[in-house]
C-alpha cells in the first residue's frame, strides 16, 4: 500500500471528529472518500496534510510512519492537496504560483525567464498553453484547479488529495479534469477524491470509503457497489427499527393546515414547491448535500428572496420576504452552522437565550434582569442544558448544549413554525436522542417543526411527514408508515422512483 491509515482518532471539544478510522490507498488508484457534512472527511484530510495533529493512530506512507506537523512538511513527504477554493494566490502570476518556494534563482534573485519556462513546461504536461505571466486570478476556476494540481503533483508526487475539485466546474471542465486525473493515475499516483457528486464518483473512482459520524462505515470497490447501497451507507439506517416510536399515534390527521406555502421557488436555487404545515406537525426534509434542503428553509425564512410563490395562514397572506418579517410571522430558524450563524460564543447562556426576544422588543424596552434570569433558568431546566451557571459563555459548552441554547432562544420567542437545519450535526450521539425528544416535547403545544437532517434514523424517528429533495426539486413525500429508511433512500437515489410515491 502507498498510504495506510490505522485507527486514526481526533477529538475536538464536544465532538469526536474521528474514531478509529482505517483507510488504505494504493498507488495508481483513485479512491473516493464520501460522507455527509460532519462525517469526518475534512478532519481526516487535515490530519493527513498536517493541518491538524492526530490524537491517536498511525499513518504509513510507503511503509514509513509519518507525522506531518505542517502542510509544508506533508508536501515534502509527498502528500499534495488541492482544495475546492483556497489553494493558490490569485494576486500572483501563474508562474509564481507554480514555482512558489522553488523558484529558479540566479545570484540570489528570482530568474523570471527560467521561472516562466519551468511553468510552461509543467502545464504542457497537462496540455495547457496559457500566458503564465498573468495573474492567476485572471483565469477560470478550471484553469486554476489544473494549476493547483500541477503544483501539487510537482511538489509532492505520491499522494494527491482532491477535495471537492469539481464543485464549481461545468460539464466540459469536469471532463478535462477527469482526463488529467486518469493520466495521473496511470503515472502511479495515489489519488483521494472527495466529492458529493455521486455520478462523478462512479465514473472516476476505483474504490469507495464511506465515513459517517467520524467512523469508517465501509470500503468497497466502486464496481461492486450500487447507488442505493452507497446512499444508505452514507445516511445510515442501522437504528431504524429501534428508533421508530409511537410518534404517529399522537399525530393529528385531517386538521386544517396552519400554514400554506404555494409555488414557492427561486430560479436556479430550487424549483417551485407547495408545502402545507399542520399544527404540531413535524415535517422532515431529506436529501443529499446540495440537493436543495437548506435552500428550501432559507426561502421559507426569507434568508433568500423567493422569485415566485406566496405564504398563507387562516387569516390570509403573510409576508416573509426577509428574516425580520418571517420572525414577525412567527417563524424561527436555527441554521446549519451554529458556530457561525447561531450562537454568540462570548456571550453567556442567559444573554444568548434572550437575544432574539430582546431584539424583537427593541432596545427601548429592555427585559429586566430578573425577567432575563427567570427565562434563562426556565429553559435551562426545560431543555436540560448542562451548564454550571447561566452566566457561563456559550462557547464553553459542549456542542449538544450549544444547540439547546439556540433552541431555547427560539422557544423564548414562542414561534408557531420552527425550522431546524441539522440540529444534531457535530454533537454526541447521546445528545441526538435528547434533541429528538425535545422536538416532540415542543410540538405537543402545537408548534410545527421543519426538520432538515442527513440522518435517516432521525427523520424516521421524529417526523410525521418526510419530503425528499433531489436536484433542487421536491420529488417525493412520504407519510405515516411509509416513512422508512428504504423508502427515503429509494426516493433520493432513483429518478424513476418518485412515481412510486405521491409526488409532493
Amino acid at each position: 500500500m502507498l498510504l495506510s491509515i490505522r485507527s486514526l482518532s481526533k477529538e475536538f471539544p464536544g465532538t469526536k471528529a474521528l474514531q478509529g478510522v482505517d483507510f488504505d490507498l494504493a498507488a495508481g488508484e483513485v479512491h473516493a472518500l464520501l460522507g455527509e457534512n460532519g462525517a469526518g472527511k475534512s478532519t481526516l484530510i487535515k490530519c493527513l496534510t498536517g493541518a491538524y495533529r492526530r490524537d491517536a493512530g498511525e499513518i504509513l506512507l510507503d511503509g514509513q510512519a509519518i507525522d506531518p506537523a505542517s502542510t509544508a512538511e506533508a508536501q515534502a513527504l509527498g502528500i499534495g492537496t488541492v482544495y475546492q477554493e483556497v489553494n493558490l494566490l490569485p494576486n500572483l502570476t501563474v508562474a509564481q504560483n507554480l514555482t512558489f518556494g522553488r523558484e529558479p534563482r540566479r545570484f540570489g534573485m528570482v530568474n523570471r525567464r527560467a521561472q516562466s519556462a519551468r511553468a510552461r513546461e509543467m502545464l504542457a504536461q497537462y496540455g495547457i498553453d496559457i500566458d503564465v505571466e498573468r495573474d492567476l486570478g485572471a483565469y477560470s476556476v478550471a484553469i486554476r484547479q489544473i494549476v493547483a494540481i500541477a503544483r501539487a503533483v510537482e511538489f509532492s508526487g505520491k499522494v494527491l488529495i482532491l477535495d471537492e475539485p469539481t464543485a464549481s466546474l461545468d460539464a466540459a471542465e469536469v471532463k478535462m479534469l477527469f482526463s488529467i486525473v486518469r493520466k495521473l493515475r496511470e503515472q502511479g499516483l495515489g489519488i483521494i477524491f472527495v466529492s458529493h457528486f455521486l455520478d462523478q464518483v462512479f465514473e472516476l473512482t476505483d474504490r469507495i470509503t464511506v465515513l459517517r459520524n467520524g467512523r469508517k462505515i465501509v470500503t468497497e470497490r466502486t464496481r461492486d457497489i450500487n447507488r442505493l447501497r452507497l446512499i444508505s451507507y452514507m445516511l445510515g439506517r442501522e437504528l431504524e427499527e429501534a428508533a421508530r416510536d409511537q410518534r404517529t399515534a399522537t399525530k393529528s390527521i385531517g386538521q386544517k393546515p396552519m400554514l400554506r406555502f404555494e409555488g414557492l421557488g427561486c430560479k436556479g436555487v430550487i424549483e417551485p414547491f407547495d408545502l402545507e404545515v399542520g399544527k404540531g406537525e413535524v415535517i422532515g426534509l431529506a436529501g443529499l448535500l446540495g440537493s436543495g434542503r437548506t435552500e428550501t428553509a432559507e426561502l421559507i425564512f426569507g434568508v433568500r428572496g423567493a422569485s415566485s410563490g406566496a405564504a398563507q395562514d387562516d387569516k390570509g397572506r403573510i409576508a416573509h420576504a426577509n428574516p425580520r418579517e418571517a420572525i414577525a410571522a412567527g417563524f424561527g430558524f436555527t441554521p446549519e452552522d451554529r458556530k457561525v450563524d447561531g450562537i454568540v460564543a462570548e456571550l453567556s447562556v442567559r444573554e444568548n437565550i434572550i437575544l432574539a426576544l430582546q431584539a424583537r422588543r427593541g432596545w427601548a424596552a429592555p427585559l429586566s434582569r430578573a425577567e432575563q434570569e427567570r427565562l434563562a433558568d426556565h429553559y435551562i431546566g426545560l431543555l436540560d442544558i448542562r451548564t454550571s451557571s447561566a452566566e457561563k459563555p456559550v462557547g464553553e459548552l459542549s456542542g449538544g448544549n450549544q444547540q439547546k441554547v439556540v433552541l431555547a432562544r427560539w422557544l423564548a420567542m414562542n414561534p408557531r413554525f420552527l425550522i431546524l437545519d441539522e440540529p444534531t450535526r457535530g454533537i454526541d450521539v447521546g445528545a441526538h436522542a435528547e434533541i429528538l425528544r425535545l422536538i416532540q416535547e415542543i410540538t405537543k403545544e402545537g408548534m410545527a417543526v421543519l426538520l432538515i437532517s442527513s440522518e435517516l434514523d432521525e427523520l424516521v424517528a421524529a417526523c410525521d411527514r418526510v419530503i425528499v429533495v433531489r436536484d433542487r426539486r421536491h420529488v417525493a413525500e412520504l407519510d405515516g408508515d411509509r416513512i422508512t429508511s428504504e423508502a427515503i433512500v429509494h426516493a433520493i437515489a432513483q429518478p424513476g422512483a418518485a412515481s412510486q410515491f405521491e409526488a409532493a
Binding site: L89, N91, L92, R112, E133
Partner: protein
C-alpha cells in the same frame, strides 16, 4: 497579447505624474530644468526612503504607523550622540540602524506571535519612539560635525546647474533595492503571498512568522535610514519633527498604485507617488499665490481617485472572471 491588468494602477500613477508635470511646464517653463528635478529628489528623499519600507509592509496587508516617530527619534539620537560622545557619525549611523531594525523586528514579532493587529502594535510603537525622542531632548539639537557638513554639501552637478544630492541618490538606490527585494526575491514573493491571503500563503509553505518579522524589521531599517537622511537634510535633530509622516508615506504608497489591502502593487509606483506629491508642492511654490494647504487638498483628491480606481479595477477583474 493584451496588457496585464495588474499594471493599470502603476501606469495611472506614472500618467498622472507626467500629465501634472506637463501642465506645470506649460504654465512655468522653468519647471523643466534639472534644478527642479534635483530639488524634487532632495526635498522628498526622506519620504521616498520611508515609503519604500511602507510599500513592503502594505504589500503584505499590514501597516506601520511608527515610522514618523522613528524618523524623529533617529534625528534626535544622532544629534545627541554626536554632541555627547566622540563617536564618528558613521558609527552612530550603524548603531541607529541596528536599533530601528530591531525595533521593527520586535513589532513584527508581536504582530505575528501574539496575533495582534499591526495597527495597534505600530501605534504603540509610534508613541514609544516619540516618547523616547522627548526623553533625550525637548529642544532642537543642531548637528555641527565636519563630516556632516561634507554630507550636506555632497552633490553632483547635473547639466543645467541642477544638483543631484547624495541623499537624493540614496533615495533612488533605496527604491531600486526595495524593488528588487519585492519583485525579484523569494522573500518578496512571500510578502505578496501573505498580502494575497495569509491562510493560503501558509498552505503554500510560506513561513509567515519569519516573513512578518522581516517585513517590519525592513520597515524599521528604512525608517532609520530615512531619519539619517532627514538629519542630513535639516542639519539637526528635533523630537517634534515629522509628525504625521507615516500617513504621508501611506498616501504616497496608495497614490503609487499599491492596494491598501495588500497583495498587489509596485515599489517603483511609490517613487512616482512621492514625486507626484512633491510636484504639487513645487507647483504651489512656483505659483506663489496659492496657500500651501492646497497640497493637502490635492493629495486628498488624488487618494480618493486612486481608491476609486482600485475599486473599479477589482470590479473589472471580477467581470473578467465571470466572462472567462
Amino acid at each position: 497579447m493584451s496588457l496585464n491588468p495588474r499594471l493599470y494602477p502603476l501606469l495611472a500613477t506614472i500618467g498622472i505624474f507626467l500629465v501634472g508635470y506637463l501642465i506645470s511646464y506649460l504654465q512655468f517653463p522653468a519647471m523643466l530644468s534639472t534644478r527642479v528635478v534635483g530639488n524634487l529628489l532632495t526635498d522628498n528623499a526622506y519620504l521616498g526612503i520611508v515609503a519604500v519600507g511602507m510599500t513592503i509592509v502594505i504589500l503584505s496587508g499590514g501597516i506601520d504607523l511608527s515610522v514618523g516617530s522613528v524618523i524623529a527619534f533617529s534625528g534626535v539620537f544622532i544629534a545627541v550622540m554626536l554632541r555627547e560622545t566622540s563617536l564618528h557619525p558613521l558609527a552612530v549611523f550603524a548603531l541607529l540602524l541596528i536599533i530601528t531594525t530591531a525595533f521593527g523586528a520586535a513589532m513584527g514579532w508581536l504582530i505575528h506571535f501574539l496575533a495582534m493587529p499591526a495597527f495597534i502594535v505600530t501605534l504603540a510603537g509610534m508613541f514609544l519612539a516619540r516618547g523616547v525622542a522627548y526623553m533625550m531632548t525637548i529642544d532642537s539639537v543642531a548637528i555641527s560635525h565636519p563630516f556632516y557638513s561634507m554630507l550636506t554639501s555632497a552633490y553632483w552637478l547635473m547639466p543645467g546647474k541642477g544638483r543631484l544630492t547624495l541623499i537624493g541618490v540614496l533615495m533612488l538606490i533605496s527604491v531600486l533595492i526595495g524593488a528588487i527585494i519585492a519583485h525579484r526575491t523569494r522573500f518578496g514573493a512571500s510578502v505578496f503571498a501573505i498580502g494575497g491571503g495569509e491562510q493560503t500563503a501558509r498552505l503554500m509553505g510560506v513561513n509567515v512568522g519569519r516573513t512578518t518579522v522581516l517585513i517590519y524589521a525592513f520597515s524599521g531599517l528604512m525608517a532609520g535610514l530615512s531619519g539619517i537622511v532627514f538629519s542630513i537634510y535639516t542639519g539637526s535633530g528635533y523630537p517634534l519633527a515629522t509628525v504625521g509622516t507615516e500617513l504621508t508615506a501611506i498616501a504616497a504608497v496608495v497614490i503609487g498604485g499599491t492596494i491598501l489591502t495588500g497583495g498587489a502593487g509596485y515599489v517603483i509606483g511609490t517613487l512616482f507617488g512621492v514625486l507626484t506629491m512633491g510636484l504639487i508642492q513645487t507647483y504651489i511654490v512656483f505659483d506663489g499665490t496659492l496657500s500651501s494647504w492646497w497640497t493637502k487638498i490635492v493629495i486628498g483628491l488624488l487618494l480618493l481617485v486612486f481608491i476609486l480606481l482600485q475599486k473599479g479595477l477589482l470590479r473589472l477583474t471580477a467581470f473578467g472572471e465571470a466572462g472567462s
